[in-house]
């Protein structure tokens, strides 16, 4: 499987936003299809579920929802494809996947909400670490 995906070539540019949109969905589908094997090879059963991984991928795609330039979308899609390829080929290690897709960018922040908005700088730092 890994070696079939390695043959992915840079596709021709999308001619329109419509085509780029279609390609994005195709990419999301292919990513979703590879989730079971990713769970298997990285042994992720006790840290996450397929649904969580799916929503994590979807949220990363949604982060760029505002982009309308098909060329930029193509570039991001290629990056995503490359990342997916790396993951499926086991070019990454377990903690990479956990760090990037299970725990997420926020790290181990306990509960992010609006509660801290009025807290001082000291208190915000105090909640996150002892060293400041």
């Amino acid at each position: 499987m890994a070696f079939t995906m390695r043959a992915v070539k840079v596709p021709p540019n999308s001619s329109s936003l419509e085509e780029a949109r279609k390609r994005t969905f195709d990419f999301f589908r292919s990513a979703c299809r590879s989730i079971p094997s990713v769970m298997e090879i990285y042994n992720l059963y006790d840290v996450t579920t397929a649904a969580q991984l799916r929503s994590s991928i979807a949220s990363q795609i949604r982060q760029n929802a505002s982009i309308t330039n098909p060329k930029v979308i193509d570039m991001l899609l290629f990056k995503g494809m490359e990342e997916l390829n790396n993951i499926v080929e086991h070019a990454k290690q377990r903690h990479h996947i956990i760090g990037q897709y299970v725990v997420g960018n926020e790290g181990l922040v306990q509960d992010v909400g609006t509660k801290d908005l009025r807290a001082s700088d000291f208190l915000k730092k105090f909640y996150s670490t002892n060293y400041f």
Binding site: K115, F122, F126, Y127, N130
Partner: protein, 756 residues
Amino acid sequence: MGLGLLALRASRTSLLGRSSSAISRPGFESGNPNFNLVRWIISTPELQKPEAATASEPAAPPPPPPRTPVGGARVHIEKPEDAIEVFVDGYPVKVPKGMTVLQACELAGVDIPRFCYHNRLSIAGNCRMCLVEVEKSPKPVASCAMPALPGMKIKTDTPIAKKAREGVMEFLLMNHPLDCPICDQGGECDLQDQSMAFGSDRGRFTEMKRSVVDKNLGPLVKTVMTRCIQCTRCVRFATEVAGVEDLGMLGRGSGEEIGTYVEKLMSSELSGNVIDICPVGALTSKPFAFKARNWELKGTESIDVTDAVGSNIRIDSRGPEVMRITPRLNEDINEEWISDKTRFCYDGLKRQRLNDPMIRGPDGRFKSVSWRDALAVVAEAAHQVTPEEIVGIAGKLSDAESMMVLKDLLNKMGSNNVWCEGNGMNPQADLRSGYLMNSSISGLEKADVFLLVGTQPRVEAPMVNARICKTIRATKAKVGYIGPPAEFNYDHQHLGSGPQTLQEIAEGRHPFCSALLSAKNPAIIVGAGLFERKDKDAIFSTIESIAKQAKAVRSDWNGLNVLLLNAAQAAALDLGLVPESENALETAKFVYLMGADDVDLEKLPSDAFVVYQGHHGDKGVYRSNVILPSSAFSEKEGTYENTEGCTQQTLPAVPTVGDARDDWKILRALSEVSGLRLNYTTLGGVRTRISTVAPNLVHMDEREPASFSATLAKPETQQKMSKEDFGVAVENFYMTDAITRASKIMAQCSASLLKK
């Protein structure tokens, strides 16, 4: 060795050897080159005939430029006529009369190799490693035992001295096992270092090495007696510093060995120091055995908090773990020794740690929560009680910063019921002289009579006890002791066990009075265990009247001392942590325990809300409703004041465990969550705040003596002394606080060493 090199060597020795009566070398004369393969033990050919080498030396070279003394040593010569001049390697140096040759060489900047000599112990002169050449002396002399004489010409790097060292080293290594790779001393071993610097590159010993049976010295000191080189440092340490005659030398010649005469454990609270003074790996630390190599360790210079002395220590850590604790030189406090509790309490830092904030649920079980939730619960509980019902107690190990923030926070909540455990409910915090060791720890050496009132320095402060022991050995000072029967490691008179004896002395009816009155510098040491007594004021006024009679408080000598028990006590009293009412605990509804474990929580009403902020799951935790994990002394920067009023600070050696925070940060965060924001956010800010309350606490490593003496304008007390005898302040030397109670090593010690 290649043949060419061998031939070269042989020809060089022959040049030197032929002129005078050479050692006969069969085969060399015969001219057969193959015969040269006879194995010669010559490391440096010149050393074979040192006389010849010196003779062939050209005229004396100009004196070398002055060198700086070893270790920055300085000497103060009181009377200039007592100074004598000696020459070390041709360089003149002025030393006071009575100094040894070795010390003179150190002043001249020449470090003489040594094993048996230790500058805090008596001179034994038995290792012979410090041999130097002295002009007009027929043989090399042992520099550690030879007094320097005027005009002496000492030579430390002549071939004779070098050969002497090489020979001594060869003899020492003869019976020393070659087990450096499995030896714990490896890397910090005097024998290893000096054999590299001064030894030969081979030995001639082909017989079997001797072996010695290991001795069992208890749970702290591991012995591998085969490695012993009989320097007798440990024997001298035990008798002279620790004051126990447990160790000794048995046998003669190659049967000579160190041992306890009968099978027994080393019963000293300073026994760990023999690990440091042992120049080889014969005595090593048992808990540290095979745990780490010394070059893997990171040293952090810090302060000990297990007693009120504040010994200077170095915390050796590897990664997040404290691996061992070793002493640091401080002439005024601990010299270069530390007590066993200080040295071996470190494994308590890894056990029973609180790592998450916890709240006790309605079912009585603790549940881990986030800091946000824990602080919110505490703030909510604090708001539901009236200010008079709020109580804060600082623990034994609290640093000055956190105690300051605790006091500020509780004052802001409207309560002034904040105190430090061990200071009693009615402490006297107005005059510093009333709770400090006024004559200072090093000043005790000037005293000639000691009166110990309700204190057993041996278990309360072993380093102070070592000073007293040292003074007694040097000056034969007398010691009188009032208190329950106790063990001492020096001669003492047990005068009585309660206030009655004190009364007798005050009225001049006691036989010890004559010694006290005739003393030049009498030192009265009062134990802080008396702080907890109801009749404390009466006792102290009696002691003051004794001090007045004995003229113990003069302008040049203040001999009225209080020996504190805990590291936090002095700073707490400096900061004014004094409870407002004596019965605060009985009526409290909200109790903030900052590491306080030895408070009697039985008195507390059952509906009181207890917050425990601390680093160990110790006694205080079980009654608490909320647990806030904080950092231990090895993990934070904190200011401590020791019993003589010297301010010192700890430095973080390892990271905090789990989700713990520094003490003062927790209190600062709590102040914000409860809406009473304190206006400092950094450690510097807290210290600025401290400087307005007790400026002496920001002058690090300085001793601030009490400015007024205790006898000055003190209200008369109407109290009467009760007849009750003085109690024992420290039941178990090895387990006094949360860290030592969590320690396994300390538990072993109290099991095996305190056995009656």
